[in-house]
Each structure stands twice: as structure tokens, then as C-alpha cells.
């Protein structure tokens, strides 16, 4: 799968690429020392990690920023700060990352956090060329860093030392790192640096160790070739022909360094006075493409060999061939320069260049048809400025796409806010209607009055008050009967009637009493229910009123935010375009400069060929004159 392959490539090639200052951020390393599962105490932080662990750095960073703004990850504040620094770094925002790490270090943080912050600052410093600062940061690291970060620290330390010219210390640092994946790359770098600065013997020893190592992957084989190439030329510099041949012969015949090895082999052979053997690699080399500088040189080397073999006629012919070839190539370069100046070639290069920041892939261009833009790709990608510029340009294009998506989201939000506004407006008249038609106050008054009455009835045990109409009529009828009875003359008739009335009254009273309790309970229950309903209604009315007030406010707030964001989007777009144009211009300039340097070299070769030709003629005439 692409991403893991990318990561593996960048991890292995990072040593080479890292040393050239191209930042392939390793925020993922920050993850290897994060707390094991179960220790995430804020779910939103876990969400950030979920994206981070899948290398969705941008997504992770956005979520992290949101969560921090909303105070959702208070349990992980130092770690989150560190992580955000690492994420900014991996997205190429060195300045912001520095700011964050420095701010982090200004406060009280646990040592594990400060150690890592120092490490990242050291890396940033190194990438920007502030080597002394980088070293100071490295020195502030107190304990071994967790996981693979420690190995990275060693790499960084050796690179920084090398950059400061402290070679012997760098060699010392490498002693402790021999098991690290990147160790051979570091030894190579150090070897070359030492040869260049005069510590040739030690340097050559290092190069030899890399040049003879076992190599399993293509990257490792490539490194081994480079080491042997560098070693061979180091020997050549001291005119040690045989060791040079030995080293150069180890270079693969079908790799990116074949041409230069062939060139070097030729020189090695001439060094040990075997010019006829020098011709073998040189003639083969000359069949290659002139856009390769080794091939260009072979055009001079071949006649040189012939001259050494005293075949002056051949030599002269080959020099003339060289002059022609150089002129032709120079014209081609002119055409390329013109094409660059016209513009538009950059997109073609970008689309052709792979996403991986692997150096050394460009040799595959040998197999690609000789299209205009591929000619100079070969040269350009070796340049650091070009690589950085290319990365920026690519990032700017990605940013444009992100901006486009943001614009679309905002349009959607705009619609939503409008819809809310409309919904609120539509509801307003209805709401007013409902509120008007509800005379809550009078209802409440009635409720209160009823409650009071029932309480009074209960307090006074006013049984009769709970009577129904029918019962009241009965009671009234009974009272009338008793009244009539009172007016009757005493006698057995009256006694019987009175007895019956007394029975009826007793029954009624007993009935009332029984019913009273039940009715009172029911009345109280009813009152409670209506009381509850009324309270609910009161709440709802209040809510509706409140919503009526706050909704427009909220909606207005959202509308404002959408407007602000839209303004920002509109402001960023043109800036991306201008910066992209500036970057394009810069890349074009670098390309043209490179090509012009090429032309100058070709001109110099051509001149040397002319000079050699003239010499040959002089020698011939001088000899003839003898």
C-alpha cells in the first residue's frame, strides 16, 4: 500500500535526504512513545490519535486544534502540545513548530516531554543550517529518547557534528550506532566529508566499509555503489590506480552510477599506464546520452587515450567528433532554456516526478523517451533548492484543493443558516398566535383558587362541600322533611316518620363521609395533575419565548461566522496563486541557471578539445618539420 511504502522509503532514504536538509518530518515517531491503550483520558484526544496513527496529519492537527480550543483535552495538555508541534513539523511548518516547542519548554513540563521538544528543535535547527544551535538543543536531552527516536537522535547528532567539521567526534558517535538502519548512510556521509576535508585515510576506510557491506534492498545497493564510486575517486585523487580499479569495479553495471564509474575506471587504467584498457569503459560510456556529464567527459577522454597510444590520427578525429557533439548538445540546451522561459514546463515535471522524495530515481530517465522536459529533470533533481521548491509547489496545489473544498462547505453552511433564519421567521407569527391565545395567567389564578378551596374543605372537614348536586338535593329534601316533621303533632305517625328520616339522614351522612374521602383525594389528585400540566405549559411558553429571542441571535451569530470564514477563504486564494507563481519563477530560474552552467561546461570542454586538436596539429607539423 502506498502510504506504508512511502514511509519505509522515507525512513531509509531519509538519512541521505535528511542530510541534504530536505525535511521529511517524522511526527509519526512521536507516536511510538505515547502511552499504551487505556491511558487516554480524553476521548477527543483519542480521536486525534486515531487519525494521527493513520498518518492523516492534517486531519489530526485540525481536530487537535478544535479540541484544545474547546477545552476537551485537559488531561493531556503537555502531550497534546508536543503532538501539535510534531504535526506542524511534519506538515512543513517549521516556524510554528519551533514556537510551540519553545513555548512548551518555557513552562514546567515533565522531562520526557522536554527531551523530545529539544530533539525536535535540534532537528529543525539542523535543517535550517543553525548547527551550533542544533547541537545546544541536543545537549539538553537528558535521557535516551523512547523507541526509534533515540536512533534518530544519534543520526542527528552525527549529522550535526559533521556539519560542524567535528569529524572525529562524529566517528565516535557512529560507534554507538552501528546497528541502526541509517548507520551505513551516516558512514558514507562522514567518509565523503573526511576525504573532502583532508582526513583521507579515515574517510576512505569508512567508504570501504560501506562499499563492501552486504546489501539486500535496492536502496542499500544504491548506497554501496555510491560508496564505491566515492572511494574510487578518492583513490584516483591520490593516483592510486589499482585500488581505484578495485573500488570502481564493484559498482553495478546497470545502476544510476554506472556512467561515472566507467569514467573513473578509465582514468584508473591510465594511471597505471594501461590506456588501451581505459578505452574499453570509455568507448562504452560514449555511447550514452550527452545529457549525462560523465558521457560528456568521455568525449574528451577517448581521444586522450588514443593520443596516449600514439594514434594521433584517431585522436584528432575523436576530438573533432567531440566538438561536434558538444555543439549539438549546447543547441539542445538552448532550446530547453527557451522552453523554460516560456513557462508551463513545471507542471509537466511535477506530474512526471514521483511523490516519494527519493534521490536517485532519476537514473530511470535514461529509459524514458527524450522528451523536452525530461532532459533537464535529470540534472535539476540533484539540486537542493529545486527539491525544496518542488515540494512547496506541490503543497500549494494541494492547498488550493483544500481551499476549494472549504469553499463548498461554506456554501452549504450558508444555506443551512438561511434555512434556519427562514424557519425561525416562519414560526414567529404562529408562536405569537399561540402565546396570545393562551391565557395562562387566568388559568393559574383559577388553579390557585381551587387549590385553596379544596384545602379549606379538607381542613374544615366540610363534608357537604364535596357533595354532588343530586346529593345536595337529597339533603335539602331531607331537611325540608325534618322541618315539616317538626311541625307535626306528636304521635306514633310522627314517630315512624321521624325514625325513617333519622335512618335516611344516617345513611346519607355515612354515604357522604365515605364518598368525601374518596372525592377529596380525587380532587386533590386532579388539582395536582392540572397543577403539573400548568407548570409544564408555563415552562414551554417560557422556552418558546426564549427561543424566539435567542434563535435570531444564534442564527445571526452563525451567519457572521460564515461570512468571516468566507472572507478568509477569499483572501487566501489569491495569495496561494501569487506564491505559486513566485515559486514557479524561482524554479524556472534554478533550472535555467543549471542549464547555463551545463552550457558553460560544454563550452569549456569544447575549448579543451580545440586546444588539444591544435596541439596535435602542432606536434604533427613539428614532427613533420623534423
Amino acid at each position: 500500500m502506498s502510504r506504508s511504502r512511502h514511509r519505509r522509503w522515507s525512513l531509509i532514504c531519509v538519512a541521505g535526504v535528511l542530510a541534504s536538509g530536505v525535511g521529511t518530518g517524522h511526527a509519526e515517531d512521536a507516536a511510538r512513545d505515547l502511552p499504551p491503550p487505556g491511558k487516554v483520558r480524553d476521548l477527543d484526544y483519542g480521536d486525534v490519535l486515531f487519525h494521527f496513527f493513520q498518518d492523516d496529519y492534517f486531519d489530526a492537527l485540525v481536530r487537535l486544534e478544535v479540541s484544545r480550543d474547546l477545552n476537551r483535552i485537559e488531561h493531556h495538555s503537555a502531550e497534546a502540545e508536543l503532538l501539535s508541534g510534531g504535526l506542524y513539523l511534519s506538515l512543513g511548518l517549521h516556524a510554528e513548530a519551533s514556537r510551540i516547542f519553545n513555548r512548551l519548554l518555557a513552562g514546567p513540563v515533565p522531562q520526557s516531554v522536554s527531551d523530545r521538544a529539544h530533539f525536535y528543535l535540534a532537528r529543525i535547527g539542523y535543517q535550517r543550517g543553525y548547527h551550533a544551535e542544533a547541537w545546544r538543543s541536543l545537549e539538553r536531552i537528558r535521557a535516551p529518547l523512547p523507541g526509534a527516536l533515540e536512533s534518530e537522535r544519534r543520526l542527528l547528532a552525527s549529522n550535526v557534528l559533521m556539519a560542524q567539521g567535528r569529524f572525529s567526534e562524529a566517528v565516535g558517535a557512529l560507534q554507538h550506532a552501528s546497528d541502526d538502519d541509517w548507520a551505513p548512510y551516516a558512514r558514507f556521509n562522514l567518509g565523503v566529508a573526511m576525504v573532502r576535508s583532508g582526513a583521507a585515510e579515515e574517510g576512505k576506510r569508512l567508504l570501504e566499509s560501506v562499499g563492501t557491506m552486504a546489501a539486500e534492498s535496492d536502496e542499500e545497493r544504491s548506497l554501496r555503489d555510491r560508496a564505491n564510486l566515492a572511494l574510487g575517486f578518492a583513490h584516483l585523487q591520490e593516483r592510486a590506480g589499482e585500488p581505484a580499479v578495485a573500488a570502481l569495479s564493484r559498482v553495478r553495471l546497470d545502476g544510476p552510477f554506472t556512467n561515472r564509474a566507467l569514467l573513473g575506471l578509465g582514468w584508473a587504467e591510465t594511471d597505471v599506464q594501461r590506456p588501451e584498457r581505459a578505452l574499453v569503459p570509455w568507448l562504452e560510456l560514449r555511447e550514452g546520452r550527452l545529457l549525462d556529464s560523465a558521457v560528456q567527459e568521455s568525449f574528451l577522454a577517448v581521444p586522450y587515450a588514443y593520443a596516449q597510444l600514439a594514434s594521433n590520427g584517431q585522436a584528432a578525429q575523436q576530438y573533432r567528433l567531440a566538438v561536434q557533439a558538444y555543439a549539438l548538445e549546447s543547441t539542445r540546451i538552448d532550446e530547453s532554456i527557451a522552453a523554460i522561459r516560456e513557462g508551463g514546463f513545471l507542471d509537466a515535471i511535477l506530474d512526471a516526478a514521483p511523490r516519494d522524495e527519493t534521490v536517485g530515481w532519476f537514473w530511470q530517465l535514461q529509459n524514458v523517451p527524450d522528451a523536452p522536459h525530461t532532459r533537464y529533470l535529470y540534472h535539476l533533481l540533484a539540486s537542493h533548492e529545486f527539491q525544496e521548491g518542488l515540494k512547496n509547489y506541490r503543497d500549494l496545489r494541494i492547498m488550493q484543493r483544500n481551499l476549494e473544498r472549504s469553499r463548498e462547505s461554506l456554501e452549504a453552511f450558508d444555506h443551512m443558516v438561511e434555512a434556519r433564519e427562514m424557519a425561525t421567521a416562519a414560526r414567529a407569527p404562529r408562536k405569537a398566535e399561540v402565546l396570545a391565545s393562551t391565557d395562562l395567567d387566568s388559568l393559574l389564578q383559577r388553579q390557585d383558587a381551587l387549590t385553596e378551596r379544596v384545602a379549606a374543605i379538607a381542613a374544615n372537614r366540610d363534608v357537604a362541600a364535596m357533595a354532588t348536586d343530586a346529593e345536595r338535593k337529597q339533603w335539602a329534601a331531607l331537611e325540608r322533611i325534618e322541618h315539616v316533621l317538626a311541625g307535626l303533632p306528636p304521635g306514633p305517625q310522627r314517630e315512624a316518620l321521624a325514625e325513617r328520616a333519622r335512618l335516611l339522614r344516617g345513611t346519607q351522612l355515612w354515604h357522604f363521609d365515605a364518598e368525601y374521602k374518596l372525592r377529596l383525594r380525587r380532587a386533590e389528585q386532579s388539582l395536582r395533575e392540572t397543577g403539573a400540566s400548568l407548570a409544564e405549559a408555563r415552562e414551554r411558553v417560557a422556552l418558546v419565548e426564549q427561543a424566539g429571542e435567542s434563535a435570531p441571535r444564534d442564527t445571526a451569530g452563525f451567519a457572521q461566522r460564515v461570512d468571516d470564514l468566507a472572507r478568509r477563504v477569499d483572501a487566501i486564494g489569491p495569495r496561494i496563486d501569487t506564491t505559486a507563481a513566485a515559486q514557479q519563477q524561482m524554479l524556472a530560474n534554478v533550472a535555467v541557471q543549471e542549464l547555463e552552467a551545463q552550457k558553460r561546461r560544454l563550452a569549456s570542454y569544447a575549448m579543451q578539445a580545440q586546444f588539444a586538436l591544435a596541439s596535435l596539429y602542432d606536434g604533427a607539423t613539428a614532427g613533420a618539420g623534423q
Binding site: 524514458v368 463548498e408 399561540v434
Partner: protein
């Protein structure tokens, strides 16, 4: 009193439903930024999805960002589909990094048959099983075969519907579009 309650409740429910519907629509808009009636048109982002492959792995489209992807929708009863699959099986590999990732999406709903056909064709790219046709609906597949070419950012750059496609043509398109 009771009447008012019902009134308020009903209106509140209506409000919620409207908002929910709107939210769903907008969420749809946000997930698929360019709204189109038809299948994702060239220039728009390919909707993300995850499906189980015949070998049991779950594969998610968005995890292939960074690669050029060919999405091939098929069913066993569709002849041109099988031809396309065979063609995609032996895509001419371009120089370096440009070999695209091919993902076959089977829309039949019969996993066993899909696996069998994939095996008989000797496919060496994953066959994703869309038993519920959720992805088929997502991509509005109404005719087969449907083959989509996605660039490294997951944007649809080419679409071939109702016709088979040859390996050469795919390779040529990739070349032309500088993917």
C-alpha cells in the same frame, strides 16, 4: 390546555424533523462536496467507502490516496465486465511509480459466485463484495460495466460506462493526464 400541549409538541416535532432532514442533506453535501444527480462526474471527489474483499480483509478507498486507482464495478452475468477485468489484470506497468491500484467491486449480492468468478479469471487485484449494493447506490451505478479512473487525491478523472475498457486505453489516459 391539553390542546395547546399537542399543538406545541406537534410543531416541535415538525421543527426537529425539518432540521434533521436539512442536516442529513447538508451532511450529504459535506461528504460529497459536489452534488450531482449522476454518478460522480470527472472532476469530483470519489465518495469514500469500505468493503470486505474475497480474502476477508476490509479495504477502504481513502487509504489508497497517493496511488492512481482504477475502480471497476462488475457482476458475473455481465460479459463486457469480465473482459474489462481481464484487461485490468494485466495492465501494462509504466515506468517507476505509475502502476495503478485496481479494485474490483462486485454488485451481485452473491459472494460465493463473485469469488468463484474472480478466481476463475485469475484476478490478482482485490475483489470487493458489495452485497447490500450500498456502494453501488453511492456511485449511482445503473449500467455495467462501470470503470472509474481516480487520481492520487481521490478525484475522478475518467469514467467509462456501459462499455469495456482496454488496458492500453487506461494506461494512455494515465499518461495523458500525467497522473
Amino acid at each position: 390546555m391539553q390542546r395547546m400541549d399537542r399543538f406545541a409538541r406537534a410543531r416541535r416535532r415538525a421543527l426537529f424533523e425539518t432540521l434533521a432532514l436539512l442536516a442529513a442533506a447538508v451532511a450529504g453535501l459535506l461528504v460529497f462536496p459536489i452534488v450531482s444527480d449522476a454518478r460522480p462526474a470527472p472532476g469530483s471527489a470519489a465518495p469514500d467507502f469500505a468493503l470486505k474483499a474475497t480474502d476477508g480483509r476490509n479495504l477502504r478507498l481513502s487509504e489508497y490516496r497517493g496511488d492512481v486507482v482504477v475502480l471497476a464495478f462488475w457482476a458475473s452475468w455481465c460479459g463486457p465486465c469480465r473482459d474489462t477485468l481481464a484487461q485490468l489484470n494485466s495492465l501494462p506497468s509504466a515506468a517507476g511509480d505509475a502502476t495503478p491500484v485496481v479494485l474490483g467491486v462486485n454488485l451481485e449480492g452473491d459472494d460465493a459466485r463473485a469469488a468463484a468468478v474472480a478466481q476463475s479469471l485469475g484476478l490478482d487485484f482485490p475483489t470487493l463484495l458489495d452485497a447490500r449494493q450500498s456502494v453501488g447506490r453511492l456511485y449511482d451505478v445503473d449500467r455495467l460495466p462501470l470503470t472509474l479512473l481516480l487520481d492520487r487525491d481521490g478525484v475522478v478523472r475518467g469514467a467509462w460506462s456501459q462499455q469495456g475498457i482496454s488496458g492500453e486505453e487506461i494506461a494512455r489516459q494515465i499518461e495523458e493526464l500525467n497522473l
